[in-house]
Amino acid sequence: MSVEEKLLAPQQALWNYLDALLREIPPSLPETDEIQDWDPAALEPAAPTVEAPPRPVVERPRIIRRQPVVAPAPRPVPEVPEPIAEQAVAPPPAEPPAALQPEWGQAEFQALLFSVGGLTLAVPLVTLNSVVPWPEHGVTPMPNQPAWCFGLLHYRERNVRVVDTGTLVIPPDREELRPTEPPEHILIVGDGSWGLACSAIGNVVRLAPDDVRWRRGGGRRPWLAGTVLGHLCALLDTDAFARMLADAGRAGARS
């Protein structure tokens, strides 16, 4: 393997991972976001029975785009591979779910890059309350706290719940990304109730909405707002993160 291949391989693996985060489409739905073999251009009367083979000029765009569903031909037989499944979707067939773009992501915004072990994440500055160094005396663990919680930090007259971001964000099958050193910083987010432990702080970047591949409906990671394309990192939705943690706490209470 050449040097270039060696450098590209982990990057490609990381891209594949991030891409997979946003491709959590339930099995019942077809992968309509990915251009299938059917294509509106293939519905020309001259070749009504063309089923699948894409024309050489047909591109498979990486970005999900809406496809014109209405075909001018009187018999719009798209020969969709899974027509039944397509009917299971919302009324406009083959329409991919809309991107869940938070309010702060509607216009240009700034985000802070930070790392948790081998994983780089981004948090929008507008939802970032403070960045504090990990206290020398540590944080105060609470009795019977969950494994994803480090404990409480008294900061600016508040008791901030500090969470182990790595445990929450890094999938179980990505052990190699987990931090091997104690956290160095705490990102206090939202109203200051929660703090995200992290390994290191990076740069602040300015992002346009188009610089982010926004999350679409569904998925098991409500904290994921999207993927920052230029930096190959996940962008956090801190409000959703806080809700998820609060729900996890309540679920623990019922267990």
Binding site: P135, E136, H137, T140, P141, M142, P143, N144, Q145, P146, C149, G151, L152, H154, N159, R161, S193, G249, R250, G252, A253, R254, S255
Partner: protein
């Protein structure tokens, strides 16, 4: 401590016996503490609930010793001579809780006590009275009355 006591304590202070467990400091209201004993032999009781370490003889009386580490979800550790048994009064019950060490009695104003944000399960939220910031540390105040449920206290009484 009743709610009335808590309201009256807004300006007045209350005194808390602080103890250490796994490098963290906890406090018990001094009114709930009968005495503090040095580490002594704890006789295990077969068939006792898992949170009961055993019993000790306190001047002819049998006192049940509760495993505080287990109740707090901490890693189990073999007791050493630095440990102490804090004899507490919970309602009409007397029991002992094993701690790593006992520190000091401190004065806490009610206004200093913050409600502990929920990070664990309901069980711990029940017996955590609050948290107090002291310098760089957070002191976790414990209501021993609620360390065990009513059924568990009844079990302790029958050990």
């Amino acid at each position: 401590m009743t709610d009335k006591d808590r309201r009256q304590g807004d300006t007045a202070g209350s005194r808390w016996v602080t103890f250490r467990l796994e490098e963290e400091t906890y406090g018990i209201n001094v009114m709930q503490v009968q005495e503090v004993l040095p580490m002594t032999e704890i006789a295990p009781v077969p068939g006792a609930p898992p949170y009961v370490m055993g019993i000790i003889n306190l001047r002819g009386n049998v006192v049940t010793v509760i495993d505080t580490r287990m109740r707090f979800g901490l890693v189990q550790r073999e007791p050493d001579q630095a440990c102490r048994i804090v004899v507490i009064e919970a309602g009409d019950q007397v029991a002992g809780i094993l701690v790593d060490s006992v520190a000091e009695v401190i004065e806490v104003k009610e206004s200093e006590v913050d409600t502990a944000p929920s990070v664990g399960n309901e069980e711990s939220a029940r017996y955590i009275y609050g948290v107090v910031s002291r310098g760089n540390d957070l002191l976790i105040l414990i209501d021993v009355n609620k360390m065990l449920t009513r059924e568990e206290w009844q079990e302790v009484a029958t050990v």
